[in-house]
Symmetry: C2
Subunit: 110 residues, 2 copies
């Protein structure tokens, strides 16, 4: 085996899992923090800032881009990456309600 059975889960579950998986890596969290902190695209500087090879950063950026979390716009020779507002806010809201869906007050066991 070794293949996630996506067909037995609903859209929400699969999509949330994909989005979280895209963020669930220290390098990608670091990349997002850099992009946010710079309040701008940091382009290829990321490879220097974090201590990873250019190919590795490019791969991580691709994953974030595929998940829709960031978007890149060509700027001369380099590419400017930044947060995709819509996706970011939607995911934030979705996670917010997921975490809020557990109300401690109503605990009935453990």
């Amino acid at each position: 085996m070794g293949l996630t059975k996506t067909e037995i889960f609903n859209e929400e579950q699969n999509q949330l899992a994909i989005a979280l998986k895209a963020i669930a890596h220290p390098a990608r969290i670091a990349i997002l923090q850099q992009i946010i902190a710079a309040k701008a695209c940091i382009c290829g500087d990321l490879a220097l800032e974090l201590g990873l090879a250019q190919a590795t950063i490019s791969q991580h950026l691709k994953e974030l881009k595929t998940a829709g979390i960031i978007k890149g716009t060509i700027e001369g020779v380099s590419v400017c990456y930044c947060i995709n507002d819509e996706v970011w806010n939607k995911l934030g809201t979705q996670l917010g309600s997921f975490f809020a869906s557990y109300g401690v007050s109503a605990k009935t066991c453990c």
Copy 2:
């Protein structure tokens, strides 16, 4: 290669990545939703509710437990799983500030 370079990232980045990775699977999201919806431990019923083998569910529960997100208490022959309040709330807060750290108003590019 193939080994995440955790040593080049900080504690916050590594821990958040581990927590998100634990949640970033449709089966584990479904498990958490079930536990939350039942507002109680659902124990082995999970294997029946979701369409996965008992061994598979047990493995997913172990991952969630290892990440500290849920905790299990023995209840006779079965085990009662439920949300770990502290960890859950802390993670929710952490994610909340992470997503809030990106203020759309200050956008300067893209």
